[in-house]
């Protein structure tokens, strides 16, 4: 069994003292000064000849310095199903797009993309359930999968999560699971080509469908596309130099039912369709061994509604950064964020992130 422990610490300053307004990710910097937003204990290995098991537990300090423990992932993965099938069962990050299933230590930036915070909440889209995947027998890589998971709890943000009143500003309604469509269903297809011997392209399309809690029969639909391209020198030294480009674009159609306003129980909000969209693109340049320069642009906005919500407003963020990896087991990252929230103002933030890894040698998916 592999046992690994990875710790992330952030230090920095922002022109706004209200960091929650600009950094909504649970593993993003939380305060001016120092934050330890994510330390992760990972256990993984073969359960028996038929299953692989993964357990991931997060320990973190919140903005008040209180310790939090999060049962992030715990699942088994089949190793020998016939017909190129593979089943995942347990609690896991739903394989929607590129970054959602990744843990913070694999991210190329200090914070999570704005659009992912808006669509999937602070913790990303993860829940309890099953995921069935099929490696399609095409000459090139094509994988298609579908996840069926619970649509409730805080990590099913655009669905039956209590926190989703941030989206519709109404009082959430309790809904029962009566049929399969009350579950969160997320299909995905991904395909990849080696464009040349040194260049690889990976493209994907994902969707997530499920009930939301703005009303007794309201539903949410999220659709996204993602792409990743990487060039690596044929004589790369420890994987450098390389250039990679990653982007995701998501649209959400949130059916908001007629509901009582959370802020004032005498106010009733009209039923309407809330359409949101957002995207990000990030360019990484591995200049020389263990030095990576990055540039990310984030865009997000929501269509006008009869109520006002800061959370759905226009947002532009530009983040250049520089990461130095002293070895494969540690990293130091410097990042500047220019944040434009339209009428809410512009902010500047500067962050330093440090990471260390103990135990099992990390291996990375493409």
């Amino acid at each position: 069994m592999n046992v690994g422990f990875v710790a992330l610490a952030d230090a920095g300053w922002s022109t706004t003292p209200n960091l929650a307004a600009i950094l909504q990710g649970d593993h993003d910097p939380k305060v001016r000064g120092f934050t330890i937003p994510n330390t992760e204990l990972t256990l993984d290995g073969a359960v028996d000849p038929y299953f692989k098991g993964v357990i991931d537990i997060v320990f973190k300090l919140d903005e008040k310095g209180e310790t939090g423990v999060e049962f992030e992932e715990a699942y088994v993965l089949t190793t020998s199903l016939p017909a190129n099938l593979q089943l995942k069962a347990g609690q896991f990050y739903v394989e929607f797009g590129r970054q959602n299933p990744q843990h913070p230590h694999s991210w190329a930036f200090v914070d999570q993309p704005v659009v992912l915070s808006r669509m999937f909440g602070p913790d990303g889209l993860r829940s309890q359930g099953l995921r069935l995947s099929w490696l399609v027998p095409t000459p090139w890589y094509t994988e298609t999968m579908v996840s069926v998971v619970n649509s409730t709890n805080g990590t099913a943000f655009s669905f039956r999560s209590d926190a989703s009143s941030e989206i519709h500003t109404g009082v959430p309604v309790d809904r029962e699971v009566l049929e399969l469509s009350d579950m969160l269903i997320a299909p995905r297809i991904a395909t990849s080509f080696d464009v040349t011997g040194n260049q690889t392209l990976l493209l994907g399309a994902s969707a997530a469908f499920g009930p939301n809690n703005s009303g007794p029969s309201a539903r949410t639909r999220i659709v996204g596309i993602d792409g990743y391209w990487k060039w690596k020198s044929a004589t790369a030294q420890q994987g450098f130099p390389f250039v990679s480009l990653q982007g995701e674009a998501l649209v959400r159609r949130y059916e908001a039912a007629q509901r009582t306003a959370a802020a004032d129980s005498f106010v009733t909000l009209a039923a309407e369709m809330l359409d949101d969209q957002g995207s990000y693109a990030q360019l990484l340049w591995g200049i020389k061994p263990r030095i990576v320069a990055g540039l990310r642009a984030d865009l997000a906005n929501g269509d006008a509604t009869t109520f006002s919500s800061d959370f759905r407003g226009d947002r532009l963020r530009v983040s250049p950064n520089l990461t130095w990896y002293p070895s494969e087991f540690s990293k130091v990252r410097f990042q500047y964020n220019y944040d434009d929230r339209g009428a809410l103002g512009k902010d500047h933030s500067l962050w330093v992130q440090f990471e260390f890894l103990l135990g099992a040698h990390a291996s990375h998916k493409f």
Binding site: S80, S192, T200, Q238, G239, S327, F329, S363, H364, F366
Partner: protein, 308 residues
């Protein structure tokens, strides 16, 4: 007439295609993580195998990208040959997880771990990363010792025979042929390097210890202060001092290592930088394991010879 021809052609096709298909399908699909292991697989498997290597000849075997195309290659493999000893630890596990191929699962006859039969050097007594990215199972760059290669070739032949018993005799015969050739070449390489017994060399990474041990060379220093740790100016100053003190004037560099660092050190010590590779295909006309070793031994002997 045309009709009769068409019927005949169709009949031939119907009869011939499955036969042709069977003979193609009967070939073992072998995937090796690195080109040196792939070359061995070709020597042992002959016409009964189709061999693919995941890493490119010029690629650092520690840092291969876990590209999705490798998932497809592994999904369709009958046999996987890996170096082992944590050489591929950073990229092979996620590929295997996604490939969902029980034929090459750990412990299956279709899974060959080359390091298992080899006498490993530099196995650390304690595991401590302050000493760099040391592999807990020992130094994984063992393919440049022909004695190890003989052990690995026998292991490959054994596994091939288990997976495809019908070709067992062919694999045995190819192994014998390979061993005979290896004995001849090994004697040649020993003869070529015999005049340089005890010669002092410098390498970039700790990747020539097996060659040094087998051919009695002395690795004075490595340009990396510790495995996987980038050379620092203070460390290079120490290397230069040691090279001068011990008259070490040959620096071995592989394609994926920093030649400029080696050149800087060479300029200050009067040493020569020798471009070699442990992977067939990385240097000109080195298609097979034998070509690669020929190139390595000849280049090394030439460099050491000019210094005499």
């Amino acid at each position: 007439m045309t009709n009769r021809f068409a019927v005949r052609a169709a009949t031939i096709a119907l009869v011939a295609l499955p036969v042709l298909g069977a003979s193609i399908a009967a070939k073992l699909r072998v995937v090796a993580t690195t080109p040196d292991l792939a070359s061995l697989a070709r020597e042992i498997g002959g016409d009964a195998v189709d061999v693919l290597a995941l890493a490119k000849p010029t690629e650092d075997p520690h840092f291969v990208d876990a590209k999705p195309s490798h998932i497809v290659t592994l999904n369709r493999a009958d046999v996987l040959i890996e170096g082992g000893a944590e050489l591929e630890l950073g990229w092979l596990p996620p590929l295997l997880e996604s490939s969902r191929n029980s034929k090459i699962a750990a412990g299956a006859p279709g899974r060959i771990v080359a390091s298992l039969g080899v006498h490993m050097l530099e196995t650390p007594a304690t595991f401590d990363r302050s000493k760099g990215d040391v592999h807990s199972l020992g130094n994984p760059h063992f393919m440049i010792d022909p004695v190890n290669v003989k052990i690995i070739a026998a292991d490959i032949a054994g596994h091939f025979a288990q997976v495809q018993p019908a070709s067992a005799a062919l694999f045995r015969a190819n192994l014998e042929k390979f061993n005979t050739k290896l004995d001849v070449k090994f004697a040649e390489w020993q003869k070529q390097l015999a005049p340089f017994r005890g010669a002092r060399i410098v390498t970039y990474h700790k990747d020539f210890v097996y060659l040094a041990e087998r051919f009695q060379l002395e690795v004075v220093e490595t340009l990396e202060p510790k495995p996987g740790i980038a050379p620092s100016p203070s460390h290079l100053a120490r290397v230069i001092e040691a090279m001068k003190a011990k008259s070490a004037r040959v620096i071995l560099v592989q394609p994926y290592q920093n030649r400029k660092t080696a050149e800087t050190v060479a300029r200050q010590t009067g040493a020569v930088v020798v471009d070699i590779s442990q992977q067939p295909g990385a240097r000109p006309d080195t298609k097979t394991y034998f070509d690669m070793m020929d190139y390595m031994v000849t280049s090394l002997a030439a460099a050491l010879g000019t210094l005499k």
